[in-house]
Symmetry: C2
Subunit: 342 residues, 2 copies
């Protein structure tokens, strides 16, 4: 049985392990400093399909297939897949996973989906409801841009606070066992909204959600930034990163020395013209699944917090004058199954 710590945090008694993970990206991701983390780079942003939506579905299917292959597994050996994405009705996931025949739990957490899917999958494992699960998400620059902002052909100017939606996907296979990394605990996010209405400044909108969830976790576990090798947020970018650190400092938590953000490291911030950084479900998913999870697996990192942030807006509510409601879910990953911080 999982134990609750405080009001928001779930600590696993028999922590699930991440058996394998995979990341797929496209052309722009291959031009960045993390090009080596991708299992597959497909420079064709259509992924051989007729539309961008089908491309995103294909990318997500390929990522799950690759993660299973790295774990020497087939789809029929998976009890449940936990998936979602940014597209209306989460069709990137539905249509991407349709042919794999796995029992399917659809999630919506916008760019927090990688943390949400790892969390829900871990709880299903802890309950004994499944023996093996897959957590996956994706984003695609072209599908997201036209759905949330403008037709690509329009060539709209991007503001300095805008972030670039990654064309990428990450997937992880979870089961019980003794090989790191282990998912030791998670903190379920609350919906935070400080009134930001600028849909081109997601970092500012999401930072308060990240700050709140991290604060909840620190309070619940009586730890702080000094207890972790790395606190990885995704995807706050330049603006949100600064705000997050400021907000946590106001609560007495200094995380600067341990903090990084997936939106700041996926692309070359000087040369790739991505303004405030990367974003999209696929950004933190691929950076975690392709980069940080392997680093914990190999023992180079030991105690890591992964805090994925999502802006839960729709274009419709923004047009109706609503501010941007956001959420962040936190996953505590460790190279150790016992001991550590919880």
């Amino acid at each position: 049985m999982a134990q609750r710590k405080g009001k928001y945090t779930i600590v696993f008694d028999d922590p699930p392990m991440i058996k394998s993970s995979a990341a797929i990206g496209s052309k722009k991701e291959a031009q960045g400093p993390l090009k080596h983390i991708f299992d597959v780079i497909n420079e064709d942003s259509y992924f051989g399909q007729a539309t961008w939506e089908k491309a995103e579905s294909r990318m997500q299917q390929d990522t799950v297939t690759k993660a299973l292959e790295k774990g020497q597994l087939s789809a029929s050996q998976v009890d449940c897949v936990f998936a979602g994405d940014l597209l209306n009705q989460c069709v990137g996931s539905t249509y991407g996973l349709r042919d794999l025949g796995m029992p399917f739990v659809g999630l919506y957490g916008a760019c927090s989906t990688m943390a949400e899917s790892l969390m829900v999958c871990s709880v299903f494992l802890e309950a004994g409801a499944i023996q093996r699960g897959v957590a996956v998400t994706s984003s695609h620059f072209c599908t997201a841009e036209r759905q949330y902002r403008f037709p690509l052909e329009y060539g709209g100017q991007r503001t300095p606070t805008a972030q670039w939606t990654a064309t990428a996907s990450g997937a992880a296979v979870l089961e019980k066992g003794d090989c790191p990394p282990f998912i030791r605990a998670c903190t379920v996010g609350t919906i935070e909204d400080l009134g930001v209405t600028d849909a081109n400044n997601m970092g500012a909108a999401m930072a308060p959600a990240a700050a709140m969830t991290i604060k909840h976790f620190f309070e619940d576990t009586k730890t702080n930034g000094d207890n972790y090798d790395l606190i990885i947020t995704g995807d706050l970018g330049k603006v949100g990163t600064r705000l997050l650190r400021e907000l946590l400092l106001q609560d007495g938590y200094n995380i600067e020395h341990a903090h990084t953000d997936c939106g700041l490291i996926l692309y070359d911030m000087d040369k790739q013209d991505v303004h405030a950084g990367a974003s999209g479900c696929g950004c933190s998913a691929s950076v975690m699944c392709g980069h940080f999870i392997p680093l914990i697996k190999s023992g180079k990192l030991n105690n890591v917090l992964f805090v994925a942030t999502g802006a839960l807006l729709s274009p419709t509510v923004v047009q109706q004058g609503e501010s941007i409601a956001c959420i962040a879910h936190l996953i505590y990953l460790s190279s150790q199954k016992e001991g550590g911080r919880v």
Copy 2:
């Protein structure tokens, strides 16, 4: 610990109970034969708000608040809410629940969301990850119609196979305890797609998903239609109901004597001009939370299967020629905490 039965079914060791539930509807729902099941009828389809999306959010917030009130609880006593809806980015849930401050797990299962949220909440309870949760969903005729089909002002003709999206919401409060009804088991759905492309015939598209999930449950538990007082699907309507029964007969399961569909009973099929019946997340959610859950609570029903079906399409993929991928999740509810069918 939950036990897995067969490949798809999760049987709870310490089954969660439904402490309280509530249903809210609007004008058309009040004109139907189930008008008495609603805790609140708001004849104003705007629910006092400026837009339909805000109306749906308000309805969902009111439904959760009412379910908590009936359980003599406040939002601060809830460990997590599990919610989703039909709107792009699930904004009915996000913006409806934003002010309640509860930890939030966003789901997307289209009209299967009530079963999905009950399932995920039950697993969280079984794992010990939470002590109390709320499952909720909603739909609104006006938001769904313009998002999926036509502007309401257009006055488009509806085909005979079309269903009418309910303006309704249902919410249930779950915790561990000894008062019925109990959630004894659930079967996670698989994505099924037999190639239906007519977005005005959701019943036909969804029936195969319902048939597959029911078949999986019967096989996993070695039971059949004779073992249950009622098998409640939602929302297949006239067309889907006939197809479901035919599909299951082909597999040797006759459920006709025990089967009903929320889409067939919410409205007066002769007088209310709803063509093939009701649909929308709020249809099965309100019919379950307002009608059937109380009937199990009072002992008038003992062993009930709730199979909510969802069409996971988006307007975009339909325009791109895709067929309609569907899913159904199953919940086995019982008035008894032990014994019974699993």
